[in-house]
């Protein structure tokens, strides 16, 4: 594992940049554990202060120190992305492996359901959930709903790998040795799809954080819980650009771009690492 990491750092510039960007954002988000202020309180400092030595990222019109506010916001958003990614990975692994290995009508039924989920536009559905749940829609419920929609693409990918594994020698050995289907899938096939899971993990986080930002900016989540999106929501509702508190918009946007670019670079460099041909090309062999 460590050797893989070292190789990636040495031969893959995208991975190195990605890890630096994501690392910076994660460190910044972790600082919120040492935050001297409660990020949900308002009017704790002088409002509308530009960035200075005392307030590194300035303060907003709600009297919050933006440094600690954003730190908490990024922690919440990253946690949200992780939750969605982990939950939807579980569904996609289960569906993908079962569908590929068992085949037959199980495969057909699962892929039929899969195709339905691919075709449903997720955004109106999420808005619908907000519409009926209103303030009962906390971030865990939202994560759960998004996880239910975030698996179909990756389940198909995993299925295609599982189809190939099914006819390999070792699978037959395992079956003749008396391993149950569950055991074959978990102990024999799962390690083979792990690289795909890692790279789709990042993509899924991008997708879910992006959707959360969008929903929050429109005010369709719990707006009192600091996340990347709600910071922008409050900035918009106080017309930050018009009033001239540009740091309230510009700093979060820079951090968001850093996060997304970093996660994306990690995802594609891992994808490339999975494909041995492109890995060899890069290492100059």
């Amino acid at each position: 594992m460590l050797a893989v990491f070292r190789d990636l750092l040495r031969y893959n510039i995208e991975f190195a940049i990605g890890i630096v960007l994501v690392g910076l954002v994660v460190i910044f988000a972790c600082l919120s554990f040492f935050s001297p202020v409660d990020p949900s309180l308002i009017y704790m400092t002088i409002p509308d202060q530009p960035p200075s030595a005392q307030y590194w990222f300035g303060t907003n019109s709600r009297g919050q120190d933006l440094f600690w506010q954003l730190s908490a916001a990024f922690r919440n958003s990253l946690m949200f992305g992780l939750t969605v990614a982990i939950l939807s990975r579980i569904i996609s692994i289960a569906v993908g492996l079962a569908s590929g290995y068992i085949g037959g009508w199980v495969d057909r039924v699962l892929m039929f359901i899969n195709d339905i989920f691919v075709a449903v536009p997720i955004f109106p559905v999420l808005v619908l959930f907000y519409f009926v749940l209103r303030n009962n829609l906390d971030s865990f419920t939202l994560a759960l709903i998004m996880a239910c929609f975030g698996w179909p693409f990756d389940a198909r990918l995993i299925r295609s790998v599982a189809l190939g594994l099914k006819h390999r020698e070792f699978t037959r050995h395992a079956v003749f040795a008396g391993m149950s289907t569950r055991k074959v899938l978990l102990e024999e096939h799962l390690p083979y799809v792990m690289p795909i899971i890692f790279s789709t993990f990042m993509n899924n986080m991008l997708w879910s954080i992006g959707l959360e930002v969008t929903l929050a900016v429109l005010g369709f989540t719990n707006i009192n819980n600091p996340t990347i999106g709600t910071v922008l929501y409050w900035a918009n509702s106080h017309s930050a650009m018009v009033v001239g508190t540009w740091w309230w918009i510009v700093i979060p946007v820079i951090l968001i771009v850093m996060t997304f670019l970093g996660l994306f670079l990690l995802a594609i460099s891992m994808n490339e690492y999975i494909d041995p041909r492109s890995r060899l090309r890069r290492m100059g062999a």
Binding site: P124, V127, T214, F264, I268
Partner: protein
Amino acid sequence: MQGYFWFVGKRALQLLAVVFFGISATFFVTHLSPIDPVEQVLGRMTARANFAPEAIVAMRQALTEMYGTNEPLLSQYINFWLRLMRGDLGPSLLAFPTPAMALVMRALPWTLGLLITSTIITFVIGNLFGGLAGYAQDNKFFKAFGIVAMGLQPIPYYIVAFILLIIFGFLWPVLPISGGFAMNVTPGWNWTFVGSVLTHSILPALSLVLVGFGGWFIGMRALVSNVVTEDYVTYAELAGVERKTIVGGYVMRNALVPQFTALAMTLGGVFSGTVITEQVFNYPGMGSLLIDAVNAGDYSLVLAVSTVSVSAVALAIFIVDLLHPLLDPRVRAE
């Protein structure tokens, strides 16, 4: 040809299933929730004015009758489908008594126009440049293009639209940033109106294109750089076939097939992007309508927008799937 009919039949079945499950889910999410539309509307109405208690009771009765919430869920569900077949989802509360469907139909052309144009532009630019970049891998221009594509691709629609809004709204105000056409233009088939519509659509479409083309570019570049190493390409090159024919007829055409499949799968996501873009640029389409409806607590309108958007996206995917065999003769033969 018989194979093609089988293919169409299977896809049509899938389309019906998607529409059926999508719309049923919409219905059950709204009707199984603990929130009662009648009380919601009543709360909104009584908050604005003083009503006599008897008037409130009468209003509650009328609303219950209108929404039919006193009936059992199953008969509500059957009723919902029967009314939907006639295209009737009840009056909108946002613009009472205009039917919700009429509002949706008014907004639909805007969204469709924006969605179709930007999807076509995105698909063509991304695949053309991606294909050329995969073929000419050492070209400096395409390398730079690839970096830009990669940098833009992961950023959420909202952020890109918002950055465009800041650039063209505050820093360099040359393009209209709000609405579907200028306020002082009367709609009709004349040049001023069409021109106004076009200039107003530049920024919303641009934000969709900027986010979208990167994915196609990266995918196509990878596909083409694999196809280029195939023996038949080397053979064609040795046989002295013109460069243009090799790139256009042999390499790109083969690489385009998986991209076309991917097009059908991304339509749902592009629709979500359109909703957000419309909201940012205040474009009079389905997205703005949906958001207004949620903010106003308009039950029928939210149901109508979700129903129509689920069906429209499913239909679009179906159409793309039908075009697929025309591009790839192998699918037709199966």
